[in-house]
Symmetry: C2
Subunit: 413 residues, 2 copies
């Protein structure tokens, strides 16, 4: 049993990805929100492909699709997701699903211990919630959360979407203890680190935690024509000053890979002739090291206190979400690196994932690993997202080889 | 004929204002958008009051209500508006309508030349457009503008609102050349200048022009987790920096009463985990002196060029609206000041209006004047807007007396 003997059929991988791009085509990407027709069509496509790969296709009550193997012994679970962000890229999700399918096709025809199962997690992109599919699989989604969930764009209730998809009352799958040696997921990097370094593969060390804050500025709403500049308490201006302060103060307190983002802000009431009486910004910090985030939180509180003291507006910070970084399994990392030595000549690097992935949920219940392929120009969550064909096929080789190595190593222990 | 003999019945003025507050009561203010049931009820109330004051009530095809006098000779036109901003104050508009009604009640029973006519302009607050009622009266609203107009909150078409009010096909009134000696309007100041100076009356010298700009920042939309801080082109941060630059650079280039406001801004796409690829701010400058605004526009263009040059985002400025300041008639100003000498002991000052008013439209076709009463705390466009009862009744005395003086002076020329 030589784990190095196994690699992907690159043409077959590319053909599958091209086929998937036809469901919800938008420019050169796709628009395939969770439970849209295009998404349901892509799931039906996957079930056909799983069957052809001698895997039993099972759709659970959360919209997750699994390809179950009847082979004896412990399995390696592999997967990602098929729905997309709105008007986004063609590879964000599908790449990992097709790699998993390919690993099953290449390895499951081999004798034990080679058994790969496929998982297609529903709603990783968060149209209805936060990683509902994989989170449900690890037992962390209550029925009441599903009752309340609605599509963030259309407002459609998740219960209605499930019923339309014929999934009302269907059991939700849960990870069976002992069934899996671990979970491996491939994904586009969504950043430009690999491209800038001229490398082919990223070995993910950890998935960053996401901390989220609502920062509110309170001033005095007033008429934009009759209120002198000196007497204004403009909450919008206070927000702008705060953003600039963060930009000035955070770099010296952050880690080398920390990122922070103001993705949304709102001036109330938001009319051209009214001085905003209040303003709100949604602020996010991501890091793999909670100690760094604690330091930045202190910085944030200091900035708020300084702004409130100097006036004329008050600043309040509310933490909406506390991130838990997910560490990737060392054995998984070693298997990916070894496979990359064979198939890319060692053109890989170890790196954290700045984005969240289903692997962070799976890491709660089993060893988990992630492999990245380069993103052209680092672009992601936009229809221009892309990866070179060579990088897609090299990544597939490394993925299949790493799967073989992990199953082989597990059986020899 | 002694113009000083005439004053208002303060209790009657207050009683009328209290009655009007019952239409669309919201907290201590009113919510009375244009063509809402509450607004239509307030117009019906006014028609009853006009009739009682021996004025013929006429509603035109724009929703303006006029009280026409059959007396011989030239008239003084007085008025304001009865609709309110959403959830706003009880006096913004109604004060001027009730003062006009009171002037007609006090003076029209006197022999010529005392003839006051009342005008209640529709939609001064701009629910469907910009001062549609008074602008229509001066001949500056085309039918196509009405066809396209919709309520900015509900989206209701103006044509539908007019039809519901029974005004479809009704003729729009136009100012009859030679009928009026001028137009006088009273209004709350909506600022805190009079209150801070301890004065009772503002004699308006000019209504500021409003210049409006859309400033667009273009960066690169990207993933908030995977894009390093160094490689970001965050359009939201560029917007914040621009706001702060304006705050730093404008004061030295502005006039003593110039005001500028960013009332709205939008980050695109506005999601917590996406770096904004573009951002837009709605920016406004108000002044009575166009030369000052030209200077500030240069400053704005310089800031945009500097920001674009230093990067990483580009900044583009588009002028949406060029303001025309409206000068108030010198004779009107003198009449208000003289009346204030009599009824407040001279507790008045000359000041510009930072807010727009129907008087700026009327000033295009006849001499126009405005009188301000103090606003408590300078608050306006909010339901806490208020004016002390004494200030309301003193203002009414000055208004009626100024009307008498103007009519008397006109007849003696």
């Amino acid at each position: 049993m030589d784990a190095n003997a196994y690699r992907a059929d690159g043409d077959r991988v590319l053909a599958d990805l091209y086929e998937l791009r036809r469901f919800g085509t938008y420019e050169t990407g796709v628009h395939r929100p969770t439970f849209s027709d295009a998404h349901l069509q892509s799931l039906a496509w996957l079930r056909r492909k799983l069957k052809a790969a001698v895997l039993a296709p099972i759709t659970d009550g959360m919209g997750n699709v699994f390809g179950r193997s009847e082979k004896a012994g412990r399995k390696l679970l592999c997967g990602s997701h098929l729905e997309s962000q709105n008007h986004a890229g063609w590879l964000d999700g599908p790449l990992g699903v097709v790699y998993a399918l390919e690993a099953a096709r290449v390895l499951n025809s081999q004798p034990a211990p080679f058994a790969v199962e496929v998982a297609c997690w529903c709603d990783e992109e968060g149209h209805f919630g936060s990683m509902l599919g994989s989170r449900s699989f690890v037992g962390d989604v209550a029925e009441v959360e599903i009752d309340a969930a609605r599509d963030r764009t259309s407002g459609r209730m998740m219960r209605d979407a499930l019923a339309s998809a014929g999934l009302a009352g269907v059991t939700r799958a849960r990870a069976e203890p002992g069934r899996y040696i671990g979970y491996l997921e491939a994904h586009i990097e969504q950043g430009d680190v690999l491209e800038n370094a001229g490398l082919a593969v990223g070995v993910v060390s950890a998935i960053v935690g996401i901390w989220q804050y609502e920062i509110t500025f309170t001033g005095q709403q007033n008429h934009a024509g009759t209120t002198s500049m000196a007497s204004r308490r403009d909450a919008g201006l206070a927000l702008a000053k705060f953003c600039v302060s963060i930009d000035q103060r955070f770099p010296s307190a952050s880690g080398p890979r920390t990122v922070w983002t103001t993705g949304r802000n709102t001036l109330d009431p938001g009319a051209p002739s009214i001085i905003p009486g209040s303003a709100t910004m949604l602020f996010q910090i991501r890091d793999t090291d909670p100690k760094t985030v604690v330091r930045l939180e202190h910085e944030l509180q200091d900035l708020a206190a300084e702004a409130t003291t100097s006036g004329p507006c008050t600043v309040a910070i509310r933490c909406l979400r506390v991130g838990k970084p997910a560490m990737m399994d060392a054995g998984m990392q070693a298997a990916i690196a070894a496979a990359s030595e064979t198939w890319t000549g060692g053109r890989h690097m170890t790196m954290p994932s700045g984005a969240g992935h289903d692997a962070q949920m799976l890491a709660r219940v089993m060893p988990a690993g992630m492999l990245f392929v380069p993103s052209i120009g680092g672009i992601s969550h936009h229809w221009t997202e892309n990866t070179a064909d060579d990088d897609i096929t090299h990544g597939a080789d490394v993925f299949v080889s790493a799967c073989a190595r992990l199953l082989s190593d597990a059986s020899s222990r």
